[in-house]
Assembly symmetry: C2
Homo-oligomer: 211 residues x 2
């Protein structure tokens, strides 16, 4: 009989070797996170690698002086790259991880990392791919913050949301966008209005329709 963990691994991590999945299922801790809850805060210690089994989480970098900026989504089949690099020694997280849907994560104590790396190609590839993707994402983020004006960043943000959430109706408030882009609500409202005038979006109460 299959455990819950094992079932999640089979569905979302099929590239792992069956024996790896078995091993993981034995040592993993599974945790449910209700929508809106924070799994990890800046400055917290990391003792486990986080694999996402269900739901959707948002990963933010927090500024020292209040404020945060959205980095990327974690979805089923993804892992938090940061929680993978943090080795044996007690590392502290530099990010904040928040569930935006009811989510389920699989926690693997970091001490097994090295062992799996060496014994399972599937795990090795997964880790390397995760690093690559996240690195790429961080570089893109740097681009945007450093080189692009707010209006361009907003358009990119909306496109990204549409692609990720697979819908043209984005149920997201102006303030939330402002937080994610580390701007302010008024600015976002103004820019959205501009986009509406350009016929690129349609604004509704509670959601934004992309054209």
């Amino acid at each position: 009989m299959k455990t819950e963990t094992s079932a999640y691994l089979d569905v979302h991590f099929p590239q792992f070797e069956p024996e790896l999945r078995e091993e993981l299922a034995e040592i993993a801790e599974i945790r449910n996170i209700p929508a809106g809850e924070t799994l990890m805060r800046t400055g917290q210690n990391i003792r486990s690698t986080v694999l996402v089994a269900e739901g959707r989480l948002k990963l933010y970098r927090e500024g020292h002086d209040e404020g945060e900026i959205f980095m990327y989504y974690l979805e089923p089949g993804n892992a938090c790259a940061l929680s993978m690099v943090c080795g044996q020694q007690q590392e502290t997280s530099g990010v904040m991880l928040k569930a935006i849907e009811d989510s389920t994560v699989i926690l693997i104590p970091v001490k097994y990392m090295e062992n799996f790396m060496q014994r399972y190609k599937g795990w090795y590839n997964f880790v390397v791919e995760t690093y690559r993707d996240r690195f790429e994402e961080l570089l893109t983020l740097i681009d945007h913050i450093a080189f692009r004006a707010m209006d361009e960043r907003l358009v990119h943000y909306l496109d990204h949301q549409r692609d990720k959430l697979r819908t043209n109706k984005l149920h997201i408030t102006h303030s939330e966008i402002a937080t994610d882009l580390h701007s302010s609500r008024e600015v976002i409202s103004r820019l959205l209005k501009k986009l509406e005038q350009q016929g690129r979006v349609k604004l509704h109460r509670q959601y934004i329709e992309m054209l």
Copy 2:
């Protein structure tokens, strides 16, 4: 008799197993880069992992529309994290790597990566540590661009230079600082002047003295 590559590895990568160093010495290509020259450009293919043997290189992210931003230094004993993640498949670089001193790098074809990862703990640890450090550096960079004003960023930049170059006299032009911070010379000059008035630096022709 030792080869040149082998000697570099012994000096700057002592944490590698002796057999690993031997293997590396056999497959490595060694390359000298005169100061000022660019080793890698955005969009170029990567086929080798870069280990730094001598000198000092600066790594930049380039914006699409002209402009660049300094990410970090590579020094002897360091490696370019990006060139490690880029797997078997032809990945293209998202960064620009420029020698600021006459430098020597050791190039290891990426196809050996996986093998070394599994066979040598020293290599595994090195790669993981490199990832962790670079990730951390990128996060710090994001912080600075997103949350800090130019004057604070400038101070941080100067401190960083002093630490890295181990000298209070920074031989660097205002324009170069401006490029690195993706600002403009005038702004940097103004801010430096402000710092001088606060007694935190002393400006000279061709160099900046930190107090």
